[in-house]
Symmetry: C2
Subunit: 197 residues, 2 copies
DNA sequence: TTCCGATGTATCGGGCCGATACATCGCAAC
DNA sequence: GTTGCGATGTATCGGCCCGATACATCGGAA
């Protein structure tokens, strides 16, 4: 999942690790608290080894004008390669079980602006089904095992159930909007210009 | 975290892995979907190696009457040891940063019926602070970075913000109930009989 | 010039997951 | 009666990600 997010961010502009992390927070802050460096740097190395990203000397950043006055030896700027873009296009087009769980869904949703509408719909519907299943599971527990559970465990289930119900409603709104060609804020989009790839 | 949950369940009654997993689903179903066997069995072995749980021959289950008619060779029943109970008492009494994140809080909450009230309050308050921080982070993003983010990313932040606000309200209710000596369902408890350890 | 907090890169051990592989049981279909 | 199959049940493996930790540099305040 981190791969996907990193590729997505680097396809907008080159960045170094620290920057990447901050962008991940603003883009995925509602999904996961913050990406650990213990995940980030190894992932970066993995992506580089796979040829999907490369180190861009820091003088590549803006132009030759700004550069190595202060030789900031640390700071490795990464940029995406052609292969990386290809891989990103592959990832952003997929809509399978991997895109239905919390983490997968969140990351894919964060890049919905660059996902084509058919894929958006399939992900939204798959996610809805997934959450509905969770919801049914909790309803079952509440209906079948309520008497042998304590008040706190029940409260936890009730709270979880409520959250699931609310997410289903949210997803339903989003699906309805997609079908009627609206952006998530309710504004009508003239045409679907967001074609991935 | 799994250690804690397993110790808690086994302190109620001996169980084998499969059973344990089902119990974990009904107790923690609102927190995590389902515990993977790839976590469960290694954890069981780890706990056993640490002397916190032991294998109980399946004939220990009910009595000698039921047992090895059909020699169910699989099925390893585990039970908690005295050391395990001690460890569980330690874990259920702690209220630090580990108990404030999603997973930690959920598991601890699931065992609140066996946690003393002072600890419950500290955990609830710590969790509230944690969620408030997340909420503030999302508000900042929405206030400061809104114009450079697309509609979908914004919608994700909005949804996350709403969820955080709701959780804070939920926690506040729980805290108020604790302070006034009520169980989470609102029923007045005559006294706080749930003293851990 | 000394200290300190923000910036910045990196590794290590360990927990947990998904995929996968087996083996057995009870039962239904043929 | 045996064949097949889904539920029950235990177990491992590779891999992602996290938290803790360790450094190093920079800019500015004391």
């Amino acid at each position: 999942m981190l791969d996907f997010a990193i590729l997505g961010l680097l396809s907008e502009s080159p960045m170094h690790g620290y920057e990447l992390r901050k962008e991940l927070v603003t883009k995925l802050g509602s999904i996961r608290a913050a990406i650990s460096y213990g995940s980030l740097y190894p992932t970066l190395r993995r992506l580089q080894a796979a040829g999907l990203i490369t180190e861009a000397g820091q003088s590549d950043r803006g132009s030759e004008a700004v550069p190595a006055l202060t030789s900031r030896r640390g700071r490795v700027v990464y940029k995406i390669t052609a292969e990386g873009k290809e891989r990103f296009a592959e990832l952003i087009a997929q809509a399978g079980p991997e895109t239905y769980d919390d983490a997968g869904f969140g990351v894919h949703f964060a890049f919905f602006a660059r996902t084509d509408r058919a894929t958006r719909l399939r992900i939204l519907e798959g996610r809805r089904r997934r959450v509905e299943e969770r919801r049914e599971g909790m309803r079952d527990v509440l209906a079948r095992a309520a008497e042998r559970l304590d008040a706190y465990t029940l409260e936890l289930q009730r709270h979880g159930l409520e959250a699931a119900e609310r997410e289903v409603r949210w997803l339903e709104e989003l699906i309805a909007n997609e079908r009627s060609g609206r952006a998530p804020d309710g504004a009508v989009k003239p045409r679907d210009e967001n074609q991935g790839g």
